[in-house]
Symmetry: C2
Subunit: 235 residues, 2 copies
Amino acid sequence: MEIQVAVAKVGKWATSESGDTLEMVERPHGGLSFVLVDGQRSGRSAKAISNLVARKAISLLAEGVRDGAAARAAHDYLFTHRGGKVSATLNILSVDLTSNTLVISRNSRCPAIVITADGELRVLDEPSQPVGVRRGTKPQITELPLTAGTVIVIYTDGLEAAGVRSICALDVPAAVRELMSKDGASTQQLADGLLQQALELEEGRPHDDISVLVLCVLEREGDGGVRRLAVQLPI
Amino acid sequence: MEIQVAVAKVGKWATSESGDTLEMVERPHGGLSFVLVDGQRSGRSAKAISNLVARKAISLLAEGVRDGAAARAAHDYLFTHRGGKVSATLNILSVDLTSNTLVISRNSRCPAIVITADGELRVLDEPSQPVGVRRGTKPQITELPLTAGTVIVIYTDGLEAAGVRSICALDVPAAVRELMSKDGASTQQLADGLLQQALELEEGRPHDDISVLVLCVLEREGDGGVRRLAVQLPI
């Protein structure tokens, strides 16, 4: 099998920095974790918050700390550091090669979307609090088998708020379903397609930072076990 | 401008894990850093070492620590932890958006290859020690302006040792020059092409872990400031 992950990420219109932070880290027992954080407000102050939360989470995950504990620690750290006055949403998506599972941790009002191997679309939207403001905040954790055909989409609230000020908000599950129905859509095309729909609703000038992460588990054999990473960073 | 980075990475033939670790982290003042570590020997023990060194480096870089200090700290940490008995090579490549420079830190006998904006190929091969074994080890640091047309290639020693047991070792600078001469070769094609040549010399069964990282600074405007990340992980 092969895991493919694609991220597309854009900052709020006319701000120098996105307040969203996406980090990736290798799990010492095998696999990868992706951490997506949306800091309260936008611009530089939001970036400082999301960087702080993401940094705490990845440094723990890199030491082999389990996802639930890393999310709790990231909350406690922000809560202590900022006296419960600043919030951030936190998603952790892990490919855990020890348990052969996909682990989704949510501290966000945004759902995660899962398409299972048999094509069923599930919206993971159990009530969940952002980190940083309420003592004892815990993540919502969902563990799925690492099965070919599985697709997971996580995103920050800028995606589902796209268009809400003018036409109508983006229906993310419907958009995922539509994009998936196109034969042979690549992981990158799914991520780009979702971001593109949001940007169209916002007429190219997003009112908030938008980040989309798509993970697909594919049947195909990776060629010769080569791992690849590609980054595009406009400056 | 747009920065593109591509990594291609493969483990030694018939080992479950690559002893090389590649991590990427956002710089809190703007930009990205890539950390490439090759732990002594191969397999699980090498992975544990490279994970330890990479983790120390990225956690410091994520806090805003400068590259030279992060490399020194990673050395001191491994030296202290393993009593000077275990070595690792360490490369840090940073896109620093505060100073608008590319920063290359080498603790490795492998050179870094730079193609400057005017097409000149430079081999950065000042003598440099791996981390972990000699007290006071320092990185070799090169800072380059962030100019469109610049290409940087860093790699672990498995690349230049490819073929050395049978035919002849891969001439990495010559291979880079040849691949660059193909019009319109993408960043990913450069990384894949170098790995491919090494794998051919090793008849598909590499005697060592091989990792290649290519960074290109392109003239083109990134479309609407969208940042992208793509990962392929065969399992």
